[in-house]
Symmetry: C2
DNA sequence: TTATTAATTGACAGCGCTGTCATTTTTTTA
DNA sequence: TAAAAAAATGACAGCGCTGTCAATTAATAA
């Protein structure tokens, strides 16, 4: 029923070792032989048995995705991308949810890596932002690829896939500026997350580039949640004598933006006529609010696939130098932003 | 470094086959021997090698979770529960996202099962609600456990874990009735989903139990989305001469409820004073709205773990008859419901 | 007690593949 | 052209475990 390497060998008229060489893309196989084998592989629809490979070889064909992120949409997207790379490359994916704040997290992961003979790991924030943790893992005999917020890798511990939130935030802020907004509020996400910091930097940079004076009172600390968006927007929009009331709000993600939208409704502020609001992430959230959110699209699926491919090529020692690929989320203009009406 | 079955055998002074018997919980091992081996296993912190097991044995130690559900929170929860069962039982989990509406879905899954030597599958809605699909899989040599909405299994194709949405919906509707509400709107989810149908039945049953006349005009068709909640609530709450304006709304899930909440705000209807709204699912959503939603808690994590355990025991042929376990989501009263003010 | 049966245990092959190393074939050099 | 070097291929063991079946031991019957 299912073809084995033996069947292929017979069909191609070579030894199983030669078949093994072909499917592992090793050198020192004549072109002619390689084609012969490849044909047999195709005819029999042969796929190597992962268990046997893992057992026999020194190498491992398993990678793991370790996550701790309250945002389920993010994880599902990532997972899908990684899975897609694994399928293409004949790798197996282990999923490991965990709690980054727990005491024994490092030991837990180290054990897992040893036990399951994991060849590589994919780390997303906040795990990818924990240097100690990453260092411990890299010192083990396991490849690591991190997905991080920023434009350059913070160190050379491992290859990284960078998501340039800063440039994206600048672009999206610029979009508001282009619409005539000058008093732009900033609703921050969790301050410990790099993404918040980067998005803040982009916001500042855009203001500076347009010679708009930065007003600290328009920056509200918070967290990546709907609630935070509600309270932050309320604070921003309540009448204050000293500060101008903002005509636009930059929210660090779509959830916050949804909260801000909600608060605006409570305060009878019409969106986008009286107030423009932007989100970040292009999560399903942003299409479910009314009006739909202008946001920055982060192709998580693609980012994850890219990261997994990078990891696998590292494992295969296809010695491409430590590549850093970079993504810049793209502006998506929807219905929550409009020309500034204030004169 | 990592202990093998050989190490354990030596340490215990028995043959590897005996160790194998102990770890597989086979009969015909003397109690004394069993303890001796168990001690060695513990001392060496031995864990059987999955690849070797999969390769050597006729059995497989892999199960798969096949999903297609737009609700990421649901999937993450499920996945976590399944993963937990797998860890306990020494099984491996394959994750397979897919599109239930695609043409070749059945073939795709069948192939996967064959290729990866999957011993069992866990199916959640909407896949678990596709009889043809399930039948094809059951006819293969693979165990299936479905998670379904309802109180009894629709057939005896496979064991099921039932989530009794009907009783839960009745309870939650009763909660509204207890608060004095009589005109209770119903915002449906996708009509093709069993969960919508069951929740609707529970709603009807509660009305009947309290001798409240059913009013078809208060039932709005829709889908499981925020938008649907917004438009549905608008429709319900717009002034209609013929129908009483509802004082409470039953929403088929939290997203719909969040939408209804939003619409109410737009219409200057205060929650919960003028209108009570309930959700369903207890998703993170329900804690992020303001006011927080009264809802029905569905312990997805636990349900999934239960399903996985059931599946694994099936695979192990621990011939407990086809068990159907049932969960009834529990009412969680938060801030979106209050005494009816209408006299 | 001894013969018979049942319960335990172990020896060994083999799952499908890769690593090592010997063998064969091809290419290069003298 | 023969000898040496390099490239290509194959034979075989073994990864860690389970299945089969034979060997041993304990329990029961005669």
């Amino acid at each position: 029923m299912k073809a084995t390497i033996n069947d292929v060998a017979k069909q191609a008229g070579v030894s199983i070792k030669t078949v093994s060489r072909v499917i592992n893309n090793e050198a020192s196989v004549r072109q002619l032989t390689r084609e012969k084998v490849q044909r047999a592989v195709d005819e029999l629809n042969y796929q190597p048995n992962l268990s046997a490979r893992n057992l026999a070889g020194a190498k491992s064909y398993s990678i793991a995705y370790i996550y701790d992120n309250p945002n389920a949409y993010y994880i599902i997207d990532m997972q899908k991308g990684i899975l897609s790379a694994c399928k293409q490359q004949g790798f197996e994916l282990l999923i490991h949810p965990c709690d980054s704040k727990s005491q024994g997290i490092t030991e837990e992961v180290v054990n897992m890596v040893k036990q399951a003979r994991i060849a590589g790991l994919i780390l997303t924030p906040p795990l990818s932002e924990m240097p100690e943790f990453v260092k411990t893992l890299v010192d083990l005999d396991v490849k690591v690829v991190r997905i991080l917020s920023g434009d350059v890798a913070p160190d050379d511990l491992s290859p990284c896939v960078m998501v340039n939130d800063r440039d994206a935030a600048q672009t999206i802020t610029q979009h508001l500026i282009d619409l005539g907004h000058k008093d732009i509020g900033f609703l921050a996400g969790d301050a410990v997350h790099m993404s918040t910091i980067e998005r803040y930097k982009g916001y500042r940079r855009a203001l500076k580039a347009s010679n708009i004076e930065f007003n600290k009172a328009l920056v509200i600390e918070g967290s990546y949640s709907f609630d935070s968006g509600v309270s932050g927007a309320k604070e921003l929009m309540s009448v204050q004598t000293a500060n101008p009331r903002p005509t636009a709000i930059f929210s660090c993600n779509d959830e916050i933006a949804a909260g801000a939208l909600f608060a605006a409704r409570l305060m009878n502020i019409s969106i986008p006529e009286q107030l423009s609001i932007v989100g970040f992430e292009n999560s399903p959230f942003s299409r479910q609010t009314w009006p739909k959110l202008t946001t920055a699209d982060q192709p998580n699926n693609q980012i994850a696939e890219d990261a997994a491919m990078l990891l696998i090529s590292q494992i295969r020692k296809q010695k491409n130098p430590i590549t850093i690929s970079q993504y810049v989320p793209k502006l998506i203009v929807r219905d929550s932003t409009a020309q500034c009406e204030k004169l």
